[in-house]
Every structure is written in structure tokens, then in C-alpha cells.
Symmetry: D2
């Protein structure tokens, strides 16, 4: 049963777990990265339309964050601070309060959790349960919230669910916006909760992404999100928006829900919150639900101070005025146009997503995979998404220049053309 | 219900969640750290006998790791690499293979999980369940394995368990070594598993720390650990050793179980594995149990490349020959001596722990808390541990100089004396 | 806290648990019963439109069953037979095979479970889980399957679910036929199961009543039941029909699903299966799913031999030819007509149910309760059903004579008129 | 896969589920039973040392109960009464109050549950959870409490647990009295519950049998039971004694715990409570914990009125004075003597149990099975018990005459001798 460990294999094959994944389709050994460009050991460069799955919204090694981080390290700034007060944490909190929370009228408290999105989701679910004295959390088809047992219960993906090799607990699944034709998901949810024999236990929370990043770039309509918010309120449940992938500007605004007329009780953030790709996660929680006692939810790395340094810089650089947000609006239009062009090449293909997390549902995971593989050969790092990996997903750094975007899309068009041509030939 | 947000409060009080903890008893704002010394905003210095709860075994801002990290950043090295191959990951794996695994005859694969200890534990439990097709994991009284729902099921602490506000699943609790007088915990476990009506479902794994760091520095005897390993084997369960706190040299050897004659099927590591206090976690798993499919357990930050850079440096610096380990042996003797002195001051106090994770059970959480608080005033950062926080726990950086150790212990002796004197006065 | 036990209270108030229920609204002490008539201690008679919640489909003390039972007892026939062979069990099985199973082309095996409906449901769910190796059972809004923990998970009623005071496990809830306007429940279920990220674990079984007796007399359309059967087959799940209340002729045929073109893998029966109101329950299971080992599911009273004696008699008397079934068809028409008349008296009222389990949804639990209370005063035992107890439910013995039916309905009309008049007066 | 249904097979093989059990080793078709004697279709008689697993403590077809039951049926007494008041229920409650509860100073309320022991256990667990707001129930190794999901969680037997094919929930297992050598089970339980990191959630209840009937006739010492009662009280848990098998005189007193100096908060009863072998179960609960709302726990057959009739008769006949109890004391001595004689025949064999539920642990399930099989051939119905079926268990009707006891034991001695002789021959 033991795998061969002979040294003729690469160190990755020899010693890294079979759980490794992206490296299988993109086997280069990467050594450098700047902005939207990755460079491998051989010096080959790649345009990055994956951006660490939206963890690198401001690109790789942003010069200002880089400078701030090096300065911090050079001066022996705190690296690991548990949940002690540090100047870096204070500075981040000031920046976050002034430029993110206050302008959006948010009185939320910031809880630094273990620095993974899953950890933030776990904390959020626990807070909702502790606040309400209820267990049940409503989550949606195609939602992805992480793979630790609490969060996994809320994750829809069957492959990931299977990895637990045991039943998950505490979550009820409902159809997401537009999941099933003719089904008003909000009305159905409300009715199941309202009926005394609906058989859905009173919920502690309703948990959703406004755009399901892993689930296939399904963008909820504002009406759906508002409807969910109303149902939550009506039934005494907290509204948790998981903005881990869709937050930090990815949809065009800092939070993905800003223009929807809702105010979540809890927001989870991770991925791009540090700005630099460093592990960091947090939970925003309205003061009345800030119910954890000291360290009741804890974690060794909840004070990753390097991340606080870059996160503060990111906020000042990108979110202290409107410029960046206006840029995102322009880029959104461009992305939509470019992806429409690709969708037009493929019969039945449709656009998915919103803002700078858009993609094309090409109808099958096989086709999407072939397009991404061909794009990689041509120097574009891009991935699929969706239940069947049927969506070619563009998650470029938000800071990608128009020129680089154009180059990337050109590669994508070429890759699509190549694959379609081959498919045609094969079919003949 | 909403908490007061007036700006007369500090940003931490105003915006940080009530879950913040260490900062309550140690309210300084820390700005710098070097070796075993922390410095606050006012320039006051503190000796660090907490070391990020054993995440800073090589001290703060080790100069070699610092240099390597700065160089990596300056050259635009990868920061966030998902699970793509990077030179930094490859270098770490080579170092870990050559200096850690091979010398110890370990054929384990390395799985990089989300960079928190809890995430590593979650992955380990899932691997055991998937490998065996069983659900039940045996864990022990006073074990601490994290607070996400899967790991929390294995954590004994009632306060943390309560934070879930729902039942946990999939874990059976058994008494740890020497937990109950006259009870042979291994024999009891074996008998309960052997009896067809013992009512304990066949286990996927037995999960333990060899020294329970949070649980009160309870050090398992080698006989107990061997006994558990035999019971695991006999009943078809995997042996998981959680070496998150006790590993990376904390007990005097790289792994805490090295001299016990057991070979765990799975080992979890985090805290000091990066060497520098950066978030990083991994699971070591024997090839035959490396059963996850690609990304079946995943996480955005599983490729925290900064951590790979410092982790590699740490291995070469501290573990490529025997010198460091010999140093640890000397320091262990010194710590034992110093703590015995303190124990002698307090009626009924006893020594706990092993290697460089030792402490004094002073009989009550109140007394232990007072001693730590007084020590903090005198410039020593130190914490309690145990069910009732009754153990004053020394978790200094392993690299702490003999001189600094002495200074730290002097403060601890003084603090203890002060507290005992006050207690006496109060009693009179 | 202790309740007053003074002997001025009746023995029921003094010693019976607060869980007692029907006796609160119908406080008579009953002493005799014959056919469709109950007699209380004072000699007052009541027409029985409740029939032990469909446990007395052949009326009280049917003379033939009574004679057979007395003869059995007089001759020292077995009373309690565990699961030993007895002549009475053999005779029942022969009758059940010849007159029930064979004519309907059913190759099902008969499993005698503990003599409660809940126990049969528990066994059915376990069989499905053991057969498929899956945990998840799909159940529906407003389904009622019992209140022991396994069955309760499938029961929709929030009041009963609350009685568990803990989470239930292993069941996913879906909307029943026509539960939500515009929602095709079968299509939704299929889509959620078909989508790889639908988040509903692969089901062991789909469990349903064709008419939800407790849930408000919601009668599933044959299309829905067939659709569910197809979805079950497509997704590798067993189809379990819970015919505990709707079976034994209640809907006009022996099984409630006979004319729907489906063949369930498992059928649960209880209530009227003994014919005489004696505790008896069974599970019908297709041979390929008859997977329990000897006594793997057991129960002391699984061989209630008195019940076998009466059950056999009931089958020969009522089901050895078509006469009874034809009678039921006539009575169904009459009941529909009579209930329509009542529905016409109440604005917005609608007919519910099918066959001899029909009722009127009067729009509110309060009104329905008042009507039943008034009917009771006038000598009619009748109950409500539904999430809000909003349905006045007729569950008369199937053997009730046309004349008695007429008398009962006259009382019901009068009671309704009285209540409506009072309501009007109160409103004025 | 389908089993052969050809009519050459008996109806039992053809149509009864594979779950059938006792009939496999004792394949006679029984037709009559009187006192301690069973008669099969061929007229062969058997002495009954199984008594419906203690459901027939007063023997088969006791003439007084039989007469009362026939009279009840002849006069069209209520058969199925839901939870309406009936004269029969009232009479039973009066008898139970006067002759059982009051003389023992018990203020408990009587809750009639679905008529199976498992249902009573489910109700008891729910009551404890609802009363305390806690989930966890402590149960013991080798306990047997039924196989519905709630009760099964408390049952230790691995074969029955496996039948669920899913995890059970809400129960923590602890070693029973004398389960493990040198382990003081009460002290261990107390310590695990007292330690803040003991990892056992605060219990709603501690559930135990004073003699584990199915688990191998393990008789708890009074000290153990008192200790458990104290631990329950100390930790705010209810004490539930499951007296389903050990109650109704089986241990020599009506309740098995009478002479132990404890007063359980909840007692579950079933099996012999009807006196006649009819399905009946109840929960005794102290008034302060009688927390169910009307029908919150319900069940169609909770008013099995035939059983009330015989149950009342049994109480008046056997428990209205001390005579029966004195008889039981004499018989206990005789049984102990007889079983000691058998134990002496088998090297290493030991006596198990207490009162009229005693047996011999013969060291292996194979030997015990052979002895019982041989005894059956010789006309004695007797069964094994224990994790490995290693105990030959005597559960004769309490009313068995000394003469019949002697005959039964003679058969048992002969059967043992035969088996031992054969074993010896085989070994030579």
C-alpha cells in the first residue's frame, strides 16, 4: 500500500500528501510573483487569473504593503501576538473603523479568529448558536464555507462533504436564489419555517454568500438577499454573510452586499483581508451578538501581526477614497464584455457572476477543464468552479491593468478556440 | 444591549470582540520583540515565558529567519501559493525530509492544511475516519485540540465546549494517564473496546497529546503512550499524536514521542513549525493512510509561503545536528530545579510537565492567577494552564539564554513570594 | 414544585402524567365500546369519529374478533410469544399472504417489530440505512412518524420535535406535495439530489405518508407519489411508505398506495393492523432489503399473540373478497358530500384528505377546536389535525353504518352552526 | 438476491423477516401455555425458564387475570383507549397507587407511553433532557435499553448498535459496577464530571439497570447504585432506573432498587407490568420532572386497556400483602443453590445475578449455547445472556412451583452434563 518514495520522484510526489491539487494541473514550480504575474523556476511567466482564489485581490507583492512589511520585520515588530494588543493591530483596527466600518454605518465588533476562512465561519456559526440558544443554521445549495466539521456542514459540495467520512450536524439546506426553476426560494424557506409542522427547527442563523464563488459564480439577486434578511429577522435568526471570497472589493464594492439594502448581523472575512495574501480572518459581529467570553473561541494564530501590517496598508491605499471602487466599475464592464465574447463562441454558454468574479458556464466540466488546461499552457493561470467544474472563472487581481486583462482574455479566447477546434476534429 | 462605542475607549475596547483574552490581564500595547524579550509602546520590556503558547520556540524575530524572510519578500518571492509547487515549499520539504523524517525512520507524507492547529486536527480526524470507515475517535480528559467543531469534539475543556452551543459528535472520552487514582486507563480502554457490549463504537483513531499543554501540563508516561499505541493497533484504530504544542523541541526532542518507542500513524503540527510564529500547520500521515483525494480537505492559506521560508531556516539552524537538543537537555534540568524551588514555597504544590513545558500546580486557579499577574507587573509574561488554571506554566522560547531564564525565574520567585505574603496578611 | 396529590383530585389528575391529552377535552370516563359507539361511566353514549386515531378501523369490539380472542384466551393460547413460532402467528401470516400480499403481487417479508407505529418506523429507517450504507432519510413537511428519536427526526411537528430537547439526526426535510404554491416538490428534490453541490447527502430512503393524517389530511397526488418513487430509484434510495394511519382500508383500499402505480420497498403498518385496537406493528420489506440479522432489531412485545388472533380474523372478514372495499367507496362519497356541506357553512373552508380520512380545514385551530368541543358535548368524539389544528378530521370506524354516519354528521353540522352563531354574537 | 418463496418452505421461512431469532434455536410451533409450561403443536411440553424475557413473571395465562380479561372483553370493555380516561385505567392507577407507590413513599406520576420498553426509555430520556436543558445521558457498559435510536444510544451491545447503521447521539458510556478490575466506577465518573476539562458534558441523567439482564446478569452492588445516585444529585442529573427487566418482583422485591436506599427520579417499566404478557409500558416520574405538555410524547397504543385490566389484577393478587415477596425469598435461595451446583460442574464457571434473575457464566458463548440447545431438546426453554452469550440465564416465571423449578434444574444439570461429556469426547 505504501507509496514509492524513491528519490527519482520529485519531493512533492515523494513527500506531499495526495491532497495536493492545483499543482496537478499546473505543475510548474513558482518562484516569484509581482502584480498579476507569476514566474516559474524556468523563468516562464504566467498571467494570474486565479489570484489565490481571491486572496490576492491587490496582486502579488504590492510594493507599498511589501515595504511596510519589510520595515515591520526589520524593526523587530511583533510577528505572533496571540490576542495581545499590538500597535499593528491597533493601527489596523483604526483604519478598518475609519475607512470601512464607519462610512458604511456599521457598528460591528471585529473578532480575529484563527487565520482561515473556515475558522471564521466556525466562529460565526457558534456565535449565532450561542446568541440564540438554537442549533440550526440554514445554508444553501452550492454554498462553500470551508471543510472543518462545523463549516463543512454548511458546505454543499458532495466531494468535500464526503471527505468527512461522517455525518455533519446542525445545518439545513435550502435552494439558493434561482436554483430551481419556478421556485421562489425565499418564499419556500419562509413557509417551511412558518409552518408549525414544517419540520425545520427554528434557525440560529441563515448563512449565505451573495455570490457563490466555489459553487459556480451564482450571484444572488438583491431581492433574494433582502428576502433572506427579512426571513431571518422574522424568525429570530441572525443573518450571516460569508464575504470571504466575494468581499474586499471582488464584486466592485468592499463588501459584496453594500448595495443590497441589508445589514448582516455577522460577516465573515478572510482571503484578501490581509491584502498581501497572508493568513488572516475575522468575523464582524454586531455588538449585541458579541457574546463569546474571553478566548471562548480561540486559536494560536489569531494575532498574525504581519497580516495586520499589510491589511492596514491595503485599506489606506485602496479604500480611503472612491478611486479604486470607480476603477473596479470600469473593469467590471470590460470583463463582462470579454467573457460575453467567449460565451458567444460556445453554444449554450452563459455568463455567471458579478463584478470581478465573473465567468462562463461552458456547459460541462470537461470542456471547462480543457480550456483552462490549454490556457495554462499558453501562460494563463485560471480555474474552474461549479458543481461539475463547468464554469471558467476569472478571479484576477482587482489591480490587474487593462492591458494585462486584455492579454489574459486573448489567451483565454485562443485557448477556447483551440479546444473547440480539437473537439470538432475529434467529433468528425 | 449595544456596547458603548464612544471614542474615549481604546480602539481595542471599542472595536475588538469580547473574545479577546490575554490582553485583559496583560494590557500593554506591544510593539517589538526580540528573542525572549517583548517591548511595549512605553518602552518597557518583558521577559517572555509564554512564547505565543509555544509558537515561538526559537524566540521572536530570530535573525536568520528574519534575514531569509526579508530576502524572500524583497525578491518578490511567492507569498500565497495555494497548493501550487513553489521553490520555498520544495526547500522546506527537502529540509524536513532530510533532517526530521529520515533520521527518525518516518515514511510519513506531509499534508499542508489550513494554517491553524485546529485545522490540522480536523484533517487528521477526517483522514482516520476515511481510512477506517469508522466514525468514533477516542480522546482523553484534559486534551485540547482546538475549537472548530470537529476538533472541539475532542477537546475536554468545558468552557470551550460550551462555546459551541450545540452538541459535538464523533468522539468518546477516556481518562488520560494518571487521571484517576487506581485506574489503569489503558487497561480500561482496552476492556471497553474488547467487550462486545462495551458500548464504545469501534474507533477510527485514538488521539492524544503526550503532554497536555492546555490541560495542565499532564505528561503521559511512555508506558501509557505505548499502551495506547497497542490498543489502537489491536482494535484497528489509527494512532494520532497531536504534537502541536509539545512538538518542535518543546519536550527536548523534535517530536514529543521520540523516545517512547511508538510510531504514530498521524502527527499534527502547528504553532512552532514555521519557526517564526507565522501561521502554518501540517499533518504527517503514513502513506497507507494518505487517502484524501485532491483538495478533498482544502483551505486557502495552506500554502503560506513566508512560513515555508522560515520553517526551512529553522530546521537547518536547529535540527541539522545534535547541538540544540543537547542544549535543551541542560535547560530542562535547570527549569526543573527552578520550578522545584517555587513549588517548595507553596504547601501542596507539585511539579507538572516535561522538558521545556513544565510548571507548578499551585493548588488553585486563584493563586496561580495572582502569581502570574504579579509577575507581569514585574516584567514577566507568563500564563496558567489546567482545568482550573491552577498550573503556573513556563513556555519560554527554547532559545532563551540561561541568564534570561534565571532573570525570569527570579521574577517568578519574587512574584510568588509577594502573593503568598499578601495572602498571609489577608488571612490574618 | 411538586403537584398537589390530595385525594380530592381524581386519580388521573393525581397520578397520571401531564402528558395525558385527549382526556383533557373529553373528560368522560369511558367504560364500554361497541362498533362506533363509546359509553361513559354515566351511561352517556358517544358516536366515535376518532376510532383510536384510525386504530379501530373495524370498530370497537367487533363480534367475530371478540369471539376469536375469547376462545384463544379460554384455551390458554399463547399471549406473549417473543418471536417464537406460534400457531396464531402462522395463521396470521397465511391470511396476510393469501389475502393481502399475493393479490397485490407483493413479495415483501413481514417483520414484527415492537407493537408501536414508531417502532416500525425506526426499524424501517434502520433497514434502509443498513441496506444502502447511507444515513440520510428524506422526509416531508407535515409528516408524522412517531416521537422516539429515530422516528421523531422524520416527524415535522415542532411541538413534538421540541419534546426531544435535543437535536434529531439523519433526516432531511423537503416540501410535501402542494406544500408551497408553485413549487414542484418532486422536481426540487430531484434537482437538489442531482446537483453535486446540492448539499443533501445521498439518501438511504425517502419516507412518506400518502395522506398525512396528523399533518392536516394532506393527500398526495398519485403523480407526486410516483414522482417520489422515481426519484428514490434514480438516486439509489429505498421508498418507504408509512401506512400506519392511512393503511388498513382507511383510504378505501387496504394499502393507501394501491392505485398509484408504485411498489414501495418498505411499508410500515400499525394502528388498525390488529383489527381490534390491540398493539401490533409490522414492517413489510422486499426480500432484497431484509437485511437484519436475528434480533438485530428486537423488542419484547414483537409477538403480541392476541393481536395476531384478531388480525387474522380481520383479514378474513374484511379482505377476502371485494365487498368491504366497495362499501368503502360508497361511504367515501357520502363523507365527501357531508363534509362539503359543513365546509359550505364556513367562509374559506376547504375539504382535505381522501377516502375515509377526510376533514374540513376551517381556517383556524381555534374554530376547529370549538367545533370539536361542541360536538363532544353533543355526543360526538372527533378531533382536529394539522399544524395549527385547523382541520376537523373525520376518522370514523370504516364499519360505521350509514345511519350512524348520518347522526354523527348531523351533530357536526349542529356543532358548527352553534359555534358560528356564538362567534357571530361575540363579534357583534 | 430475492429469497426463495416457494411454498415448500414454512410460512415463517417464507414470509417472516430474517430478524426472527428465538424461533431459530427453538423451532417448535407453540400453541398453548399455562403457568410455567409451554405446549407445542405436537403436544410436547416445555418448562419455561425464559418467561418472555421476564415479561411473564406471573406465568402464562394466570387464571385470575385470564378471568378478568375475558370478563372485560365479554362486556365490551374498552380495548383501545388512547389516553382517554377509562374505568380500567383508573382501577389500575388506584391499585398501583395503593399497593406499589404509597407503601414505598413514592410520589411519582405515571406516564403511559407506547407499550414497549424502548418507548418508556425514550420518554424517560426526553423528560430528563427537557427537565435539565442538557443533552448528555450517562449509560453503562453492558446496559440494554432498547433498539430505537434514542434508547439504542444507551444500549451497549455492539450487534444491536450496528443495526442502526448510523451514529447514535446523546449518550456517554461509563464502566458499570465491577466492569474493570481495580476501577471504582463511581469515583471515576465523579471525577470526569467534576473536572472542568473532563470532557463529559454536564449530564441530564444517569441511566442504569440495577441488574443488567441482557448484559450478562451483572448485579450492581447497593454501594454502586447509591454512589451513582449521589453523583447524579451532585452534578444536577436525574437518576433513571430502568426496571423493565429487573422490576415487577424479578429481584425479589417489586422494584429492583427497593432495598438500596435510593429513590430514582424516573423509573421505566414494561415487560411484566401488565402481568399477563400484554404490551404495556410506563414511566414513573417525580412530579417536579413531569414536564411534558399534553401529548408532547405520545403513541397510539398508550392506552392498551386490556393490559390495564390484567395489570390491576396482578397487583391485587401478588402485591397487596407480603406473601408473594416472602415466597420469592425462598425461591431465590433455591435457585442460587441449584445454579451453584451447575457452576461446580464447569471449571471457572461463576454465578451471576440476583434474586430470580440468576445464571451461570460458563466462560464461553459456545458452551452456553450448547447447554441451552441441549436443554431445549430435553424440554426446557432457556436462553443465554451477556456480551458473548456466555451466561446461561434463568428467568423462570416467579410463580413457578418448587417442583417445576426442580424439574427444570434437573434438565439443566443433565444438559450440562451431556454437553460437557461430548466436549470431553471431542477433545480426546
Amino acid at each position: 500500500m505504501a507509496k514509492d518514495m524513491t528519490k527519482t520522484h520529485s519531493i512533492y510526489e515523494r513527500r506531499e500528501s495526495e491532497a495536493r491539487s492545483y499543482c496537478r494541473g499546473m505543475p510548474a514550480v513558482f518562484t516569484k510573483a509581482q502584480g498579476s504575474t507569476l514566474t516559474d523556476r524556468e523563468g516562464k511567466t504566467y498571467i494570474d487569473f486565479l489570484a489565490g482564489c481571491s486572496s490576492l485581490n491587490y496582486g502579488h507583492n504590492d510594493p507599498d504593503m511589501k515595504a511596510a512589511l519589510i520595515e515591520h520585520i526589520e524593526h523587530d515588530g511583533i510577528t505572533h501576538g496571540l490576542d495581545l494588543h499590538t500597535d499593528a493591530k491597533g493601527d489596523f483596527l483604526h483604519a478598518f473603523e475609519s475607512h470601512i466600518l464607519e462610512p458604511r454605518d456599521m457598528d460591528h465588533r471585529v473578532m480575529f479568529t484563527g487565520p482561515t476562512g473556515a475558522n471564521a465561519v466556525e466562529a460565526a456559526m457558534k456565535i449565532a448558536r450561542k446568541s440564540t440558544g438554537r442549533t440550526n443554521v440554514i445554508a444553501f445549495t452550492n454554498g462553500f464555507h470551508g471543510v472543518t466539521m462545523g463549516a463543512l456542514a454548511a458546505t454543499g459540495n458532495g466531494y468535500h462533504r464526503g471527505g468527512a467520512a461522517m455525518d455533519t450536524h446542525g445545518v439545513t439546506r435550502m435552494p439558493f436564489d434561482a436554483f430551481a426553476e419556478g421556485v421562489d426560494s425565499v418564499a419556500l424557506l419562509d413557509q417551511m419555517l412558518s409552518d408549525g409542522s414544517g419540520g425545520i427547527d427554528a434557525p440560529a442563523a441563515i448563512l449565505l454568500e451573495t455570490v457563490q464563488g466555489e459553487g459556480g459564480l451564482n450571484a444572488a439577486s438583491p431581492e433574494f438577499v433582502r428576502g433572506v434578511a427579512e426571513v431571518a429577522k422574522k424568525h429570530g435568526a441572525l443573518l450571516i454573510i460569508d464575504d470571504i471570497q466575494a468581499g474586499c472589493g471582488r464584486t466592485g464594492t468592499f463588501f459584496s452586499f453594500e448595495e443590497m439594502g441589508v445589514m448582516p448581523d455577522i460577516v465573515t472575512m478572510a482571503k484578501s483581508i490581509s491584502g498581501f495574501g497572508l493568513p488572516m480572518a475575522l468575523v464582524l459581529v454586531r455588538p449585541e451578538y458579541d457574546v463569546f467570553g474571553p478566548a471562548e473561541h480561540n486559536g494560536t494564530f489569531r494575532g498574525n501581526t504581519h497580516a495586520f501590517v499589510t491589511a492596514k496598508t491595503a485599506i489606506y491605499k485602496f479604500w480611503s477614497d472612491d478611486k479604486f471602487q470607480q476603477e473596479l466599475a470600469h473593469k467590471t464592464v470590460m470583463i463582462t464584455t470579454a467573457l460575453n465574447e467567449i460565451a458567444d463562441m460556445i453554444p449554450g454558454a452563459t455568463l455567471k457572476g458579478r463584478g470581478l468574479m465573473q465567468g462562463v458556464d461552458v456547459g460541462s466540466g470537461e470542456l471547462a477543464g480543457q480550456i483552462c488546461a490549454r490556457a495554462y499552457e499558453k501562460g494563463l493561470v485560471i480555474e474552474t468552479s461549479g458543481s461539475d467544474d463547468e464554469v471558467v472563472k476569472v478571479l484576477a487581481p482587482l489591480t490587474t491593468s487593462m492591458d494585462t486583462f486584455r492579454k489574459g482574455f486573448n489567451i483565454l479566447v485562443d485557448a477556447t478556440r483551440d479546444v473547440l477546434a480539437n473537439t470538432k476534429i475529434a467529433a468528425e
